[in-house]
Symmetry: C2
Subunit: 383 residues, 2 copies
């Protein structure tokens, strides 16, 4: 295993009804005023917002609301939240929703205590090292945002979809995971979520030039859990055990446990996908299921043995190509798109997408790896 | 998955040479004076102590020394440490050694800021909710103490070997794991350590009345890693990768990740063993390899399907008995004792041991489960 630092201070409160204790959890940290961030009105219609409001009020915590966060969350909404947080003097941000709501909340929490433009944290101009406390009730299992310090936001005008750079201040203090709250997800979004978790795992597993045996088994166990749970849930959305295991696997896939001791892992499919979902506003997970098999066909030559292991361990299949094909078929089976056209992305746009991706590659300082040839090759594989 | 809270704030610094940064890590938390706790003189002869002292001095951190902690650590030494910590006004405790040194350090750290007797925390009279900061450089992979808030100490006169009850204050702030520092362990102690890690995992895996599929796979991956690494290391003690994976598996086995969502897990073999090692001063891991198969023969009837799974997944064997026998043979193969006589424990002492264990059972409030019949049955199985 290679040298590493592991640190993850997020406290997880997992289980049915735990959202009703959110006021208690927040008050334990001496917070008396929060900004509650959410997405659509569903959070109000479902009664979840009322439960949250009641719990906060019972503990004497005042709150201000910010609704209307959309998927592929926008910087303009983050600015709105920052203004509100400053104007009302809140001490913490409480996200009630999925990854987009939580990512927006992390951005608001860091931006609200920063004199400059929060976008600086997304463009390598500054690192966020102060933040309001962050709490969340996560209603969609996919991004893993509930147990990491990552956030992705899109700038409205330019459609640049970039990642927050923050120290540990952007880890949630407490994350509530109640699998029951996640059971209203549509079959489509469940499939996209499975694809997102796969990408978090496989971006590491299929790129690390050194992967400890322990970690290979660890990640395969996450992937198998996601496959098993997804198949159960597509047939029976009310299966609590499958829902719970899906939720926990999602959290584990991106809470840094998979990175311990691995070497030179990259984030290729996430790099390639963000421009797709920013450009066409498709679901991130849908973009990923299109990109993943296409990218694998390109990547397989770099780490052939890893791809053979993947095929054997995950699908009992022989050889890299068989493994890639099996994954592609599984995505199709669960209803996730696997070609550009299935994602309603015009194939004629490939040259434009390549240009946009080259700009991002440059920003990442990774243009020697993410070349025109590489990007074109992958997108062409997705036809 | 059942409801749970997961919280583990320990920062891990893993890798070759990381102990040379210990002064830097400690200074990041504003600490300027520490008590350095260690065991035998080996830590000085090896040059490790010098490296630590140099690193502390470079960062302007003053230190006081307390050597002489022995395995199955004694309360008298903890008292000595508490007096020293108070007299010198240290702000933190730095453990340099194995689990015994770290457990003593946790006890000192909690006792030094408590007005009463630190033994209160071991006898359910009080919960430790304040502590000096705890840092460690762990030189033996086994107990998992580097990433949890557990500690076990033996009272000199009565040989009571009890566990610390503490809040999260007893988690180490930073734990340094350099697998190279762990490579001087003898083959015997390597086997005992493997047995200890197995017990941490199996105490949960073989008792939880509900075990999520994800968690079963997670624990099996830890166990397989330990088996693979142990066999490599017994042939080649200098194999760094195996040493590193062994170390990381040891940490994962008792950092609360294995408990997430499981139901009604118990600590049977640890309960049964502590009296053995306190009474005869044998290695904890050696006591555990004696107790484990004997206890499994008793426990198998309570969870037959779990034992069948264990046999299949771990040893490709059929049926509970075959799994137990395979584990026993593996223990023998690596050099861990599997009977009382192999551990130099007189079989005639069984009635005395039963009496002592019944007293502990009562203290734990678990006498309806740990009955005379149950304890006798297990110890008889260890003949």
């Amino acid at each position: 295993m290679k040298a590493f630092t592991y640190y993850n201070p997020t406290r997880i409160e997992f289980g049915v009804g735990k959202e009703k204790n959110i006021g208690k959890y927040i008050s334990e940290y001496g917070v008396s005023k929060v900004l509650v961030v959410y997405g659509s009105d569903r959070v109000k219609k479902s009664g979840l917002f009322d439960n949250v409001a009641k719990s906060l009020t019972e503990k004497g915590i005042n709150y201000v609301e910010l609704g209307g966060v959309q998927s592929n969350p926008l910087l303009s909404k983050v600015y709105e939240g920052i203004e509100l947080a400053k104007a009302k003097g809140v001490e913490a941000v409480l996200a009630v929703g999925g990854g987009s709501v939580l990512d927006s909340s992390k951005s608001i929490a860091t931006g609200a205590v920063y004199d400059g433009d929060v976008w600086d944290f997304f463009t390598n101009k500054a690192v966020a090292n102060k933040a309001l406390k962050i709490f969340d009730i996560i209603t969609l299992a996919a991004t893993g945002s509930e147990m990491n310090n990552f956030a992705v936001v899109t700038k409205d005008e330019t459609k640049e979809k970039f990642s927050l750079t923050a120290t540990s201040v952007a880890f949630p203090t407490v994350s509530v995971i109640n699998p029951e709250l996640q059971s209203t997800v549509t079959k489509e979004y469940l499939a996209y979520s499975a694809s997102d978790i796969f990408a978090h795992s496989l971006d590491m597993y299929l790129t690390a030039t050194y992967l400890p045996e322990y970690m290979a088994g660890y990640v395969e166990n996450i992937l198998k859990t996601v496959m098993r749970a997804t198949e159960i849930l597509l047939k029976d959305a009310s299966n609590y055990e499958a829902r719970a295991e899906f939720a926990w696997a999602a959290t584990q896939a991106l809470n840094f446990t998979t990175f311990c001791g691995v070497e030179n892992n990259r984030y290729d499919t996430h790099f390639l996908e963000h421009t797709l979902s920013a450009e066409y506003n498709i679901a991130h997970g849908a973009g990923l299921s299109i990109i993943m098999p296409a990218w694998m066909k390109w990547q397989k030559n770099l780490l052939p043995e890893r791809f053979e292991r993947f095929a054997t361990k995950m699908f009992d299949a022989k050889g890299a190509d068989a493994g890639i094909e099996a994954l592609k078929q599984w995505y199709s089976k669960i209803g996730a798109p696997v070609t550009l056209s299935e994602g309603n992305i015009p194939e004629k746009d490939i040259p434009m997408l390549v240009e946009k991706l080259l700009v991002v590659a440059k920003l990442w300082g990774a243009e020697t790896f993410y070349t025109q040839k590489m990007i074109t090759n992958v997108l062409e594989n997705a036809r």
